[in-house]
């Protein structure tokens, strides 16, 4: 007796559905963008920990500036690079709340370098999510601090020349050296196992706040199909081959 699809699609057989913490708004990201996956995982974790009423998110300037449209929590949209300072202000004045910042590489590792390092060094008891795709997505594909050597971008059209443009900046390794950080990890979201690991890391980071452990810092090595000028599947393969050797996945610090 063959089981029909309609016999499987029943409420009692549901194993995965969009979390109710995500709004009905259609994401503005390009097809295949890693932001969508990470946004979703953050929503899922907040939902599963049942901390919706106690979470305040800080969005950056960059592609994820409009992240506040997607998750049903209170939000604060920061100036370019200033999310860690904004998060500090919120957390210091509402220490019982769960606070997280969400930034791209230009935001966190270029214009906001000072705010990033000092928030981590003070051990602000919050989560900092760092999406690293090695390019400025929103402004149209310019070189980022994390752009790989030889990688092309609109402001290094012949590839990043370290003699001229300097070296890719590994912010995650830097913040791991600071005593204020309690958990520093580098993850990805390109495969189902990677997504499961990333979700676990996010959950741990929120729980660290409850235990007042200090700054949790999660880098997500990500793709930018539009900026890289590849389709999403090619982007993932390119990321594995080129980004992962420079930005290797795994926990860097866990105290």
């Amino acid at each position: 007796m063959a089981l029909e699809v309609k016999d499987i699609i029943k409420p009692e057989n549901l194993v995965y559905a969009k979390t109710k913490l995500l709004t009905e708004r259609m994401l503005h990201y390009c097809p295949g963008c890693t932001h969508g996956v990470v946004n979703k995982l953050i929503a899922e974790v907040i939902d599963e920990l049942n901390i919706q009423e106690d979470t305040i998110g800080v969005t950056p300037v960059g592609c994820s500036v409009l992240l506040y449209n997607y998750i049903e929590i209170d939000w604060h949209e920061a100036a370019h690079g200033r999310a860690p300072a904004v998060g500090t202000g919120i957390k210091r004045l509402r220490p019982e709340k769960y606070v997280f910042t969400y930034q791209g590489d230009g935001d966190l590792a270029a214009i906001g370098t000072a705010e990033t390092i000092h928030a981590c060094n003070r051990g602000e008891n919050m989560l900092m999510v760092f999406i690293n795709n090695g390019i400025y997505g929103m402004t149209g594909g310019q070189m980022a601090p994390t752009t790989l050597e030889g990688m092309k971008a609109s402001t290094c059209p012949f590839g990043r020349d370290v003699e001229h443009d300097g070296n890719p900046l590994n912010m995650t390794s830097i913040v791991a050296t600071l005593p204020g950080t309690c958990y520093v990890t580098r993850q990805a979201a390109h495969t189902a196992p990677a997504v499961r690991k990333l979700k676990k890391a996010l959950r741990k980071a929120f729980e660290n706040q409850k235990d007042k452990k200090g700054t949790s810092f999660i880098e997500v090595v990500a793709t930018c199909s539009s900026g890289w000028k590849m389709n999403p599947v090619q982007s993932n393969k390119w990321m594995e081959a080129n980004m992962f050797p420079i930005y290797p996945l795994g926990d860097i610090k866990d105290v």
Binding site: Y68, D74, E77, R82, G89, R94, E115, H118
Partner: protein, 360 residues
């Protein structure tokens, strides 16, 4: 209980902030205002009122920490001096764009550049014109005594919350550093988180199921919606001009010549009025207390009475522009000012008035 003390203007700001029930101070050291944070750190208000005091890594971080705190509906403030205030302009534009209340104290020193640590009023134009990018204004209060340094903390917060707009206390190195007798108000209780959630329904207090999520933001990509927003902000500024212009008049009733000065310059100009009157010249002084909203209507009235006005400022001619705009050519308006940290004497002002209006 209120209390009489002899203190510096900068110390008075810190004391008044604690007593008013400010929730958070974020700052970065810079002369001539470092006593504000030093006093706060010494008084340890986190142990008494629960006020947070944090030394940030820069003025940029300070203003953005305030941005976060203000979004939570908290009473947050910072203080700095001219070069530091320049660094805060981006954040102030965001705070104004997100319609958040906060208080920034600028203990002005002479510029441009690193300039001097001596007093000046050369940040007037920056303060009254918003200072950062976009069409916005700060509420600007100009204390001319240590007592007003203390009192204006409360006034600045009241106005900032009334209009959901950043307020600036525009002081200078003279008022910040000088010592005077101050009456400090009794300690007020800080507002509880529950009171904040009720009183400021826009604040990021954590989203309960009973309301939509609150989003503190200054971005709006729909030009028509953003023009509507800008119109709303401009309407607030109009309302400020109707309801919250503050100024002080000194011997204006029969004045034939009017000095216009604020802050430390106004203190000196009181003496100049005395000296002028001793010489038989009927002089008066109008001291704007709110530099934005500016007491233009009052100046326009006085323009029908006096033969000339002299804007006296520790800057190259910034205040004088607002005076001229207000009187719109009805009477001659001249400028006298010293720069670079030099403070004018009462006699110099007398001379300037005589030279401009009475000789030749």
């Amino acid at each position: 209980m209120s209390e009489l003390r002899l203190m510096k203007g900068n110390e008075a700001i810190a004391e008044a902030a604690i007593r008013y029930g400010v929730d958070g101070y974020f700052g970065y050291p810079i002369t001539p205002q470092s006593e504000v944070m030093e006093t706060l750190m010494d008084l340890r208000p986190w142990e008494s009122t629960g006020m947070v005091v944090l030394q940030a890594e820069s003025e940029i971080a300070s203003i953005n920490m305030m941005y976060g705190g203000a979004g939570c509906g908290k009473k947050v403030m910072t203080s700095s001096s001219s070069p530091g205030i320049s660094l805060m302009q981006e954040g102030l534009s965001y705070l104004a764009g997100a319609e958040l209340p906060c208080v920034v104290v600028n203990v002005v020193r002479g510029g441009p550049g690193l300039g001097t640590i001596q007093p000046a009023q050369s940040d007037y134009a920056q303060a009254v014109n918003g200072g950062g990018h976009g069409d916005y204004n700060l509420i600007v209060l100009a204390p001319s005594s240590v007592q007003e340094m203390a009192d204006f903390v409360e006034l600045a917060f009241e106005l900032a919350f009334k209009y959901r707009n950043p307020a600036m206390i525009l002081s200078d190195g003279m008022i910040g550093q000088m010592m005077e007798k101050v009456e400090l108000k009794p300690q007020k209780t800080r507002m509880s988180n529950e009171e904040i959630a009720e009183k400021y329904p826009w604040a990021t207090t954590g989203k309960p199921s009973s309301r939509e999520r609150n989003i503190i933001t200054s971005v709006e990509l729909d030009p028509y919606a953003f023009e509507r927003f800008n119109n709303k902000v401009q309407a607030k500024y109009k309302q400020m001009h109707k309801e919250d212009v503050r100024f002080e008049q000194f011997q204006c009733e029969d004045a034939e010549y009017l000095l216009v000065a604020y802050g430390s310059s106004a203190r000196i100009c009181q003496k100049s009025v005395q000296l002028l009157r001793e010489k038989g010249i009927k002089a008066g002084l109008l001291r704007p207390i709110t530099l934005f909203p500016f007491p233009g209507v009052e100046l326009e009235k006085l323009a029908g009475q006096v033969k000339g006005m002299l804007a006296v400022e520790l800057s190259a001619g910034q205040l004088v522009r607002d005076v001229r705009l207000a009187v719109n050519g009805k009477v001659p308006v001249e400028h006298f000012g010293r720069m670079g940290g030099v403070i004018h004497s009462p006699e110099e002002v007398v001379e300037a008035l005589e030279k401009n209006f009475l000789k030749g």
